[in-house]
């Protein structure tokens, strides 16, 4: 396989869209439940944990860019093959794809679980699964341009939800944050780690990089995308801490969704129902991007046509969705994805980076010797 894939000019995207891609894949179902996990670790200083996590995310993105810059036009699959050889590189690439698949499964299952808890307890998971997956298939069919279009539109059609947070925001109690700075440093770090699942997703940068037309201006949209999702998570968590009392928040699985329960307008008494439905616009870009990553990755490594992988993956996912309707299993899967994701997304680039540098230096040395 080629290390630097040649992407046709008409398939390339402007770097500007990287902002929407990064934000959309980071903000998904994770943000609904994140406040509880962060708060359990860092209590009223959770906002500090989120800031720490954000700084770390910036660092990871920085390292990712440095890795990618060593090559002309490569993605993670090419880089791994270049460095670890054909066999090991492909195994690592496959693991990457399995991680994406697990993440996709956990996102779909979590969203289905939320719909079941909030709106239709008796609906079968398979039906919502079929609906979601048919939407995913439809989008992937259109190719990367359509995917980016969907991501772009859904970004705007979901953000109005923020205005609804006004109601819980004015009911916040500042006492809930006081006394400040009570959490110890390890607790803060644990809190930061609890954001891993919500912040994960920006590793798509390693896949989508070859598609970017104007690579020189790709950095700002990527950093700004991470900043945007950081802002959303911070807003969600801060309002949750102010609005709920500590004991409540520690037991509230979907705190951000519960915030909307207080919102009530003259024409819609229970706005939380609409919010749960609307959340599909938040979760769907997430699922589409993950599915694209899976199909594209397999095409890159094994030369299987994307449509084939698309249907096979969808079918496997549907079977898994039908069987995994137990809430505890979903939680366990999400935990597992968060744990594995922590290593894959947040640690692995730091291991890869020095190896890439060494290899490149060695290559240059060899070139100069032969000359």
């Amino acid at each position: 396989m080629e290390i630097n894939p040649k992407i046709k000019e008409n398939l390339r995207i402007r770097a500007f869209y990287l902002f929407f891609i990064i934000t959309s894949i980071q903000v998904g179902v994770g943000i609904m439940g994140a406040p509880m996990y962060i708060f359990t670790e860092a209590e009223q200083d959770s906002w500090l944990s989120i800031i720490i996590a954000f700084v770390y995310v910036l660092l990871v993105i920085f390292v990712m860019f440095r890795i990618l810059e060593q090559y002309e036009n490569a993605d993670i699959f090419g880089i791994q093959v270049d460095i670890f050889g054909k066999w090991l590189g492909k195994i690592l690439g496959t693991l990457y794809i399995i991680y994406f698949a697990a993440a996709l499964l956990s996102v779909i299952l979590t969203y289905i679980d939320v719909v079941k808890v909030f709106i239709f307890p008796e609906i079968s998971s398979l039906i919502i699964g079929v609906l979601l997956i048919s939407l995913i298939i439809y989008c992937i069919y259109g190719g990367l341009k359509v995917i980016i279009g969907v991501v772009f539109i859904f970004f705007f059609s979901a953000h109005w939800l923020l205005f609804l947070l006004y109601e819980p925001a004015i009911r916040m109690e500042l006492d809930h944050f006081q006394p400040f700075f009570q959490a110890s440093f390890p607790e803060l770090l644990k809190g930061a780690r609890a954001t891993a699942y919500s912040f994960a997703g920006f590793e798509i940068l390693l896949l989508i990089y070859p598609f970017i037309q104007n690579k020189e201006s790709a950095k700002f949209p990527a950093y700004f995308g991470a900043f945007w999702s950081f802002g959303l998570l911070l807003i969600g968590t801060v309002i949750s801490i102010g609005y709920f009392s500590a004991v409540q928040l520690k037991e509230l699985e979907w705190a951000v969704l519960s915030l909307f329960k207080i919102v009530s307008l003259p024409f819609v008494e229970r706005f939380d129902y609409i919010v749960v439905a609307e959340w599909m616009m938040v979760a769907l870009p997430n699922m589409i991007l993950l599915m694209w990553a899976i199909t594209y990755g397999i095409k890159r490594m094994y030369k299987v046509p994307q449509t084939k992988t698309l249907f096979i993956t969808s079918f496997i996912l549907l079977i898994l969705i039908a069987f995994m309707s137990n809430h505890n299993i979903i939680i366990r899967l999400t935990d597992l994805v968060a744990k594995v994701g922590f290593w894959v997304v947040y640690v692995y680039p730091f291991i890869l980076f020095p190896i890439v540098l060494l290899k490149k230096r060695w290559q240059r040395k060899k070139e100069s010797e032969t000359r």
């Binding site: 006492d175 609005y243 500590a246």
Partner: protein, 381 residues
Amino acid sequence: MRNTLRLVVLSLLLITSLTGCVEPKSIEDLGIINTRGVDIIEDDKIETTLVIYKFDSQNQELSSLVFGEGKTIKGARQNANYKTSFQLTPGQIRFELFGKETAEKGLLSFVDTQIRDARVSDTMYLAISETTAKDVITQGHEGAAVQIGKYLFELIEQNVEDNIIPRVTLQDFLHIYYDYGHDPYLPVLSTVTKSPTLSAIALFQDDKYVGQVPLKNALLINVFNKSIENASLEVQLPMQPFKKYMKSERQDENDEDTAHALMKILRGNSKTKLTNLQNMQFQTEVTFNVTMLELSEEIDLKNPKVKEIFEKEVEKNFKKQYEQLFKKLQEFNSDPFGYGTIYRINKPGGKLTDAEWHNKFPDINVDFKIEFILKGHGTTP
């Protein structure tokens, strides 16, 4: 062409198949619970009184009462379901009333379980009945001309909006209950006349009812929890200090000892700080910006000196009210003001349990500082 055909077939397929996905709920078959009363009857059994709305074309009456018994709230709803041809749904409960005896045993088990069901609204109001919940609801149903469910909800809602009583939704109750060192409060309804009326404010220690204070104290509690606007305020003042400033022409006729004033609060807020952690000494500053609406005696408020005396007198009056209320609260050992929260924030470590606070609360000292600012006095001075 092929694409359009595919799209049409697909959408038709979806439309026909999706409607079968969830159980249909047509509104004619539903009894939408609007108000629920909860009482404990003998040995832990719960009796619920439900006011339901029916949208059945044959029925003239829109709301009706259904009773149910059971060990849990949901069990009682099931039981009530046996007695009606409608399917009872809890998603629109706007108001929940608890009997006094039930409240004395603790409300948490009834209230907390509702949060678990995501379909229950957070915005429903809670209240306590002077007797039993059944009593208030049935009497109101028979007596009042309006629908009882609507009436009860609006009775509370309007008074909350007028800042007469603090906001008491399900979420407020739970949130205050779970905050360390802060006890919840609820309005009390009674049926002195045929229709239910607001009569007092119930105080809680944790989730247990411990006593009540008169309704006029509600404002004093309310101003602690948020800044209030547009509430009216009545005070009684001694005439003595004003005697020599009375408007001259009517001086001789005047023989009243007290004056009554009705004022509108433009803005009222409070600030509390802990002045001494060791002795648990607090200082609370309450500021009211008011404008005069009614004054029973001819006091010349144009005169800055009179105005000053007037403000002083009202402040004195309020300080006394606050001190009396506070003494009562310490007797009940219930802290709706949330002094415990302020104590927790200032305590090293920042941790405090409710039990700890109830040991300490009767011994705390509070220095109330009331400030009254008379911003205007209407059209006549």
